[in-house]
Assembly symmetry: C2
Homo-oligomer: 456 residues x 2
């Protein structure tokens, strides 16, 4: 009897957590949009149209970086602070923010709150959540601070004293949260991102380091912090580190291969800067959203692989969207195992549970359908080439935020589609699926007899 009550209770909490997360994100976006509409948020002191404010709030909260108005030009200092706050909330997960509040109020954190935070960070259990949250906040502060100092070294000489510091802080936070928002736009060239800084090693390397650290995920930091040898890391951490390194190298090599002699992108640089720009491109496409080269001028193969990298995105429990590195790794490992004639999938001396393979397939299918339907809907609404629509849709789903320049010209319906895709990409297709479909868990079913089907 005791056990049964506990189970009901636990199930209840486990089901509520994704719902709380989904609703919480939606509320954050809505409140952010209302604040951004205020005249005080805009540089010209006018009311910002609701859809532009909603798009910006969604893009900031979902750490995407797609924008319909230039961040630097349109918003006042207050508006920029609101955006930065939304980025920080979205980046750390609003669950961590709720935890701060409870720390501040000196309240004891309840089991229920632990479960909710656990879902917010994509962790499977609530153990150690308080310790982890404290670490997350501390680590974030240290890393963002260091990044801001390094960036200011370059920005202060260029922009003068007070502006250079704020530029450094804003871009450090935006890079670490993989948000992709920048303040580089000018009234003449409102959406230039970091193209002007393409050949500056300090700015590029600092931003890359911030982006990669932010994209690894809280859980990975904590594990690396606790253990001091690769062998003793958790399976999850090993897969994330290996997959991240592999994807970064792949994107770097591919960009060099197909852009080396493209005069509109890498072709304009000398060899060291070609390498720097290709590395930045590889890092930023994973989920960050800055760009130092004109993405609309990429060759076809680069655009295709860009979409693939954006679709995969970063790692679970990080600021990234997309289907996540671990999902891609599980799918690749499954394929390799089948080719080798094995009946189970293993990595680093562990068998990957069939349930994980099912989830990976689910994310791939759901993400693929979402991106395809989104891109087709936008292509049906706009008079734009399909590959541009697909690029923006995948950029939104992966919460990457790079653009071929289509977003600022989109019709209202297309903007709403991108808002929905950013939201689904950030909250997570599985989390949303659980929140919507699993109102109550199905009773355990009889297991049907097994049957083979002929594949291929």
């Amino acid at each position: 009897m005791q056990t049964q009550i506990f189970m009901v209770h636990k199930r209840h909490l486990g089901l509520r957590a994704p719902t709380v997360l989904a609703v919480g994100f939606a509320l954050t976006i809505l409140v952010g949009a209302l604040v951004l509409m205020l005249p005080v948020s805009a540089a010209d002191g006018q009311i910002t149209p609701f859809l532009d404010a909603l798009f910006t709030a969604a893009s900031a909260s979902c750490v995407t970086g797609l924008v319909t108005v230039s961040t630097a030009v349109h918003w006042s200092v207050f508006g920029k602070c609101v955006i930065l706050l939304l980025i920080q909330i979205g980046g750390l997960g609003f669950m961590s923010v709720a935890a701060i509040a409870s720390f501040v109020l000196r309240r004891t954190i309840t089991l229920h709150e632990r479960m909710v935070m656990s879902a917010g960070l994509n962790l499977s259990d609530g153990g150690g959540i308080v310790r982890l949250t404290r670490r997350v906040l501390f680590g974030t502060f240290i890393i963002e601070g260091t990044g801001a100092v390094l960036l200011s070294c370059r920005f202060v000489p260029h922009y003068g004293f007070p502006k250079g510091i704020t530029m450094g802080v804003f871009h450090a936070v935006s890079a670490f949260c993989n948000a992709g928002f920048d303040l580089m736009g000018t009234p003449d060239d409102p959406f230039q991102s970091l193209i002007g800084w393409a050949e500056d090693p300090l700015v590029n390397i600092t931003l890359m380091a911030l982006i990669v650290l932010g994209g690894l995920g809280f859980f990975v930091w904590s594990d690396v912090w606790d253990k001091h040898s690769f062998c003793r890391l958790r399976l999850h951490t090993k897969i994330v580190l290996t997959a991240t390194a592999g994807l970064l190298l792949f994107g770097f090599g591919w960009t060099l291969l197909f852009e080396w002699s493209n005069p509109a992108t890498l072709g304009a640089f000398d060899t060291p800067h070609k390498l720097l720009a290709a590395a930045f491109e590889s890092v930023t496409l994973r989920t960050a959203g800055f760009n130092t080269i004109d993405l609309g001028a990429l060759t076809g193969p680069s655009q295709a692989v860009s979409c693939l990298l954006m679709f995969i995105g970063g790692s679970p429990g990080s600021t990234a969207g997309g289907i996540k590195t671990v999902t891609a790794a599980v799918l690749v490992l499954t394929a390799i195992s089948a080719f080798c004639g094995r009946t189970t999938v293993s990595a680093f001396g562990r068998t990957i549970a069939p349930r994980s393979i099912m989830n990976a397939v689910t994310l791939l299918m759901a993400g693929g359908v979402l991106c395809l339907v989104g891109a087709c809907a936008i292509a049906g609404i706009e008079d734009a080439p399909f590959h541009q629509c697909l690029f923006e849709a995948v950029s939104a789903f992966g919460t990457v935020g790079v653009s071929m320049g289509l977003t600022p010209t989109l019709a209202a319906a297309s903007r709403v589609i991108l808002i929905v895709m950013m939201y689904m990409g950030r909250v997570g297709v599985l989390t949303l699926g659980v929140a919507v479909f699993m109102r109550r868990r199905e009773p355990p079913r009889l297991k049907y007899p097994d049957a083979d089907v002929f594949i291929g």
Copy 2:
């Protein structure tokens, strides 16, 4: 001891069958190419360049239908007969052809031959293979004959007596084998396919029926022939029929939605002919390769979904390439099960074995990588938009054979890439993988402890 010897023996056969199939297909293509090079094969009595002959032989044997020279214009009657023979060999699988030979020679069919044929038809066991082969040949003859008679009713009045009959036979065989070769080209318009017959219901419906029957696969016919109620069919048959119906309806609806008012495609027709052309488009993209509308003029969303349908292709054990309907069905069922919180995947009251899910993931990954790499390589070689290169690459992998018009203008290297992709699409990525990688089976490994990873 007895058991052990039998197992070794069986394993030996099981491994050799895919190798025999892979090598046999390659030899068929090579011999076909050499015959097509002969002056007697060309309409102008000249030697055909090796690469054109190889491409045509590969396209015919792999029942693809991509061509670099116009089938109607370039080849003599003898050359066309060689192509038809290659289509028939490729369509039935050369294993069935070997079985005919053994019937003719009145030899007893050996266990080894059974295993080889079994692999050729993508069947998992050798039982009933002789009965099945007899049925396949008889059924093929009846269906192709009926189709030829119906087509001739239209073609004889149009082309005159002897030519109309040969046109009827050629197109019936080509449609049933899902080969996509046609004889409609003229010196002025060498690659028009069936655009001239877009508004003829008899031709369209006959071809659609032939294509769908051919694309279901021998195994499905046999099962439907044996049982007389849907409930008693094998799981494989149920999934194939459901998935085929679903994909056809999806393609039909999608084409209507995005092409209804496109003046370059459906927009030119009245409503009944719009429906007819959309239905034909949906059927042909699955793996057939005829076209009655200009595919280069499709809207972006239609092109994207065309690529998707071509990538999925037909059903296992049929004349189709691609990753196959059953693979797609298993992936979709897996996603649905995960969303519903189930830990196993079931269909029609049977649990789908985890091994089948692994194979489905493997095919998806291998096919995706193959198409992406092929398209990028072609895009790197040619000066053509990426989406056209991708379309031709997926068309080759799915052995569909529709084209946006790029293939006849391709450089030698790109043609070789397409030949390799047609070959891999037809022989099957898994079959090739087993033939190449599984030279010997790994000893059974210790099962590692299970571990969950965080997906999403």
